[in-house]
């Protein structure tokens, strides 16, 4: 974005200083609106329960109660929940990347009977939202003995039509000559996939990884349905709901737990902003 804007700059007159200030004010206003709820959560998490109910509400913690964070960690079993969420997310991200790369490679580089039909079958899954299938999936997972296990939590999500589609597009952009050259060099398909196609499609693969991560980490419906109360595999999202229910008189602790739960994703956002934007807008622009 900056590049295109700079390219225009010489034609336009210099923007007057006043307008730049006005724009910054506008941006700051937007930032305040977006961040205000989270800011209040941080403030409230650092107050004493009696202070939270105070009117007018305190907008700054004068005597921050940092102990609410370790309290939330303990009372909410957040260590267990975060670990469960991390395991669940890693399995789903790895699984989706592997199945998508394999299928996308077949669709992009191999010729085989029923190729078109099978591709349509993969695309059809995009039309069936997961929510529509939960009823039977709960039965399936339970009858496999997978209730309250990581298999039950993750296996239904190990493939994604979106991922296959995204990576196929990326693979198709690799020049055909490269494939032929690799073949002449005696590369088999799998060696070509591993040492040429995957490295070249890395941006798209990273984008898919971030997208999968976000989807898996923030899952709510499925973990609610297939995890039990013994916390063996219960994820942090469901943990937050429980923390809120058990700490009714200690809202500061619940809010501290919430901040802890969102922290990993804030880090992810700051580090992977580019990939995130790319994956979320795949399809929006060409």
């Amino acid at each position: 974005m900056p590049a295109s804007d700079e390219a225009v700059a010489p034609v336009r007159r210099r923007r007057p200083r006043g307008r730049i200030v006005a724009r910054y004010l506008l941006l700051t206003l937007g930032a305040v609106i977006v961040l205000f709820p989270v800011y209040m959560a941080v403030v409230n998490s650092l107050l004493l329960p009696s202070q939270i109910a105070h009117q007018p509400p305190p907008f700054f913690p004068n005597d921050p109660q940092w102990h609410t964070y370790p309290d939330a960690w303990k009372a909410g079993h957040l260590g267990v929940y975060l670990r469960n969420s991390a395991i669940q997310t890693m399995i789903i991200v790895a699984g989706q990347l592997i199945t998508s790369i394999l299928a996308a490679f077949a669709f992009a580089f191999l010729e085989f009977p029923l190729k078109k039909t099978l591709f349509i079958v993969f695309l059809m899954t995009l039309m069936i939202p997961f929510e529509v299938t939960v009823a039977t999936n709960v039965t399936t997972v339970t009858s496999l003995g997978w209730f309250n296990t990581f298999q039950g939590l993750t296996v239904p999500f190990l493939a994604t039509g979106f991922g296959v589609f995204l990576l196929r597009q990326a693979f198709l952009q690799i020049p055909r000559d490269l494939k032929e050259a690799a073949q002449l060099d005696g590369f088999g398909h799998l060696r070509f996939l591993w040492s040429v196609a995957i490295p070249l499609a890395r941006p798209a693969i990273a984008a898919l990884g971030v997208f999968s991560f976000l989807g898996a980490w923030n899952q709510y419906l499925w973990p609610l349905l297939v995890t039990g109360n013994d916390n063996a595999v219960r994820t942090v999202q469901i943990g937050l709901k429980q923390l809120l229910n058990t700490q009714l008189d200690q809202l500061n602790v619940s809010l501290a737990g919430t901040i802890i739960a969102i922290a990993p994703l804030i880090i992810l956002l700051v580090v992977f902003q580019k990939q995130l934007v790319r994956s979320l807008t795949a399809g929006a622009v060409k």
Partner: protein, 298 residues
């Protein structure tokens, strides 16, 4: 010649092996349960647990569709979507326009504006639930009567939940709009500027029409997002109060049919309705995208 045929055969085998993991998952966890809905919809749940369910044909479908609970759920869902999608898209567009300038520090604003995309429903619900609480929330400070509590009030519960969803959708909406703005053809904008188009004319006659594919994409994403939100309702309102507060949106109704009422038949009928609605949205999107492709190819 023969080696070539043999190699082709080997390619076929390899292709099927590569596709197998994905196909297996989809077969078991997507297609089979999806088709199963059409069977479950024809069977009525036994009055007492443990008895077999009985085949009732389409009568259950008719019963569900004509029930007041279903109709109320559909109305709540549509109202929710109408509250969330336009507001969320407009908010995202405004933030994107504000941030679409090469100024110092813009990267920070972009991270902030897209930040709500990483917040989960649970996080958003807890954060906003506090702000909306009659005792510890902000309403008394704003000079509003906090009683009866907004979240247990049939008039205000749905708008309140919508506010949470809008906030959460804002990040995604901002990202989509920013990507759209960045892809606008700079020559066209520049030509309009050189022709002396003023800012409002520029915006309504040039930017918005050029941005229409992005806005349309945002609409579809927004629809799907709004139809799938129910976590806020589950956390802040709960199963017992959902119908009373008119927040029993379709997806929450499905969840309740499954987990609270133990009624797979009802859940199946509701799932089919949800599928038909989302299919409609997706088909409109595909047709639109197809038109765009032709347009770009000319």
């Amino acid at each position: 010649m023969r080696t070539q045929v043999a190699r082709r055969r080997k390619d076929w085998a390899l292709a099927y092996v590569l596709l197998l993991p994905g196909l297996a998952i989809f077969a078991v966890f997507t297609f089979w349960p999806f088709l199963q809905n059409f069977k479950l919809a024809l069977y009525q749940n036994p009055p007492y647990p443990g008895l077999p369910s009985t085949f009732v044909g389409l009568s259950q479908v008719g019963d569900v569709l004509s029930s007041s609970a279903f109709q109320q759920s559909l109305v709540s869902t549509l109202l929710f979507v109408l509250m969330v999608v336009p507001t969320g898209l407009l908010g995202g567009l405004m933030l994107a326009l504000a941030a679409h300038r090469a100024l110092r520090g813009m990267a920070i604003f972009q991270v902030i504006f897209s930040s709500t995309v990483v917040s989960s429903v649970a996080v958003a619900a807890v954060v906003f639930g506090t702000l909306m609480d009659p005792v510890v929330g902000l309403l008394p400070w704003l000079g509003l009567d906090p009683q009866p509590a907004i979240l247990s009030n049939p008039t205000w519960a749905l708008p309140a939940v919508a506010v949470i969803a809008i906030w959460q959708f804002l990040g995604l909406s901002f990202i989509i709009m920013t990507a759209g703005l960045q892809s606008l053809p700079e020559e066209v904008l520049e030509a309009a500027r050189l022709d002396g188009a003023r800012a409002p004319t520029m915006f309504f006659r040039v930017t918005i029409p050029l941005l229409s594919p992005t806005i349309f994409f945002g609409l579809v994403v927004g629809f799907i997002y709004a139809f799938q939100s129910f976590g806020q309702i589950d956390i802040l309102i709960g199963s017992q109060n959902a119908e009373f507060t008119h927040t029993n949106v379709l997806l929450y109704y499905i969840y309740r049919a499954l987990s609270v009422q133990n009624d797979p038949g009802l859940a199946a009928v509701l799932s089919i309705v949800l599928f038909v609605i989302l299919l409609g949205v997706t088909l409109v999107q595909f047709r639109f995208l197809e038109r765009r492709v032709h347009y770009a190819g000319e």
